[in-house]
Amino acid sequence: MAEHVILFAGPMGAGKTSAIRALSEIDVVSTEAANSDRTVADKPTTTVALDYGEIGINEAEKVRLYGVPGQRRFDFMWTILAERAEGVLLLVNADADNPVETAIEYVKEFFALYERGGIVIGLTRADLVPRALIEEYANALADEMPDVMIPVLTVDARSQEEMMTLLMTLIANIELKQAVADSIGVGVGSGGRRAR
């Protein structure tokens, strides 16, 4: 596995910060500030710049995890961090007002990264709603973007194991895409990105 840079995106309160804390092997760099908007997500703090964590693969290789603030008013941070990312792990909380629409909105927002590497969706806080059918999300995505392949899984953002499964799904997608790009690259004699 090569070095990877993964962006954690999705609305405020979806669990991006929790997920990076669960996954990271280093102390996470956080930028939490007192939350003045308790109506959107009733939690004491919110991310205002980024979260940063790492998972080591070996001495030289690691997966870098960048979380963005969920609120659109911080979308300049989305742009800055999306530049270096290869894929998006999109978290959407099932207890939000319009979770299906929200998921599609964020997929569209980060679609350039779908094309670069991939997007997976983690549906969080599903235990807090009576029903959160994954099929609803998959069907809505298929209706909206028929040619797009985006895996949707239910996850608890606090669970290292569940988040790792979702992350590995994304990394497999990215490596597949890079391998295809490499083989095409070799065919036309241009140096594509190497995925080991």
């Binding site: 760099v29 956080s30 930028t31 939490e32 500030a33 007192a34 939350n35 003045s36 908007d37 308790r38 919110t46 205002v48 710049a49 980024l50 603030p69 609120q71 008013r73 911080f74 300049f76 941070m77």
Partner: protein
């Protein structure tokens, strides 16, 4: 539940007073914003060429990143942030005792030291203003 500062008239009125004082103190002030640490604009003065919400969001991120660097390097509390560019500089200070940041943009007619002094004095004055009932 207590009202968030950007919706609380006490913060808005006293913030206006403090920022007005900063404008009098520093003629080279181009724009100033009092914001919640999570990036909501409470009040702003001078230049209307800026989007106050965007300015507040960016100031909030900048503040948090600078604080994170100080924390990471174990330097103690971060006291202020300065972004010095060719045609002006931004000075940011926290308002002691409140989840608020003062961010002020000055033209290059003022020295950074002069701007910093003015911004710090304004933040301290706001703390005092907010102490009164």
């Amino acid at each position: 539940m207590t009202l968030a500062p950007h919706l609380d008239s006490k913060y808005i009125v006293r913030g206006e007073l403090a920022l007005g004082g900063l404008r009098d103190l520093a003629p080279s002030l181009r724009y100033a914003s009092l914001l919640t640490e999570d990036g909501f604009s409470v009040v702003s003065v001078a230049g209307n060429e800026f989007d106050s919400n965007r300015f507040a969001s960016m100031a909030s991120s900048t503040q948090a990143l600078a604080d994170a660097v100080a924390r990471e390097l174990q330097l103690g509390d971060n006291e202020f942030v300065i972004v010095a560019a060719e045609e002006g500089h931004v000075v940011q200070v926290r308002v002691q005792g409140h989840p608020l940041v003062l961010a002020a943009l000055f033209t290059d007619r003022e020295t950074i030291g002069g701007s910093l002094t003015a911004a710090r004095r304004t933040a301290r004055r706001l703390t005092t203003l907010l102490m009164a009932k």
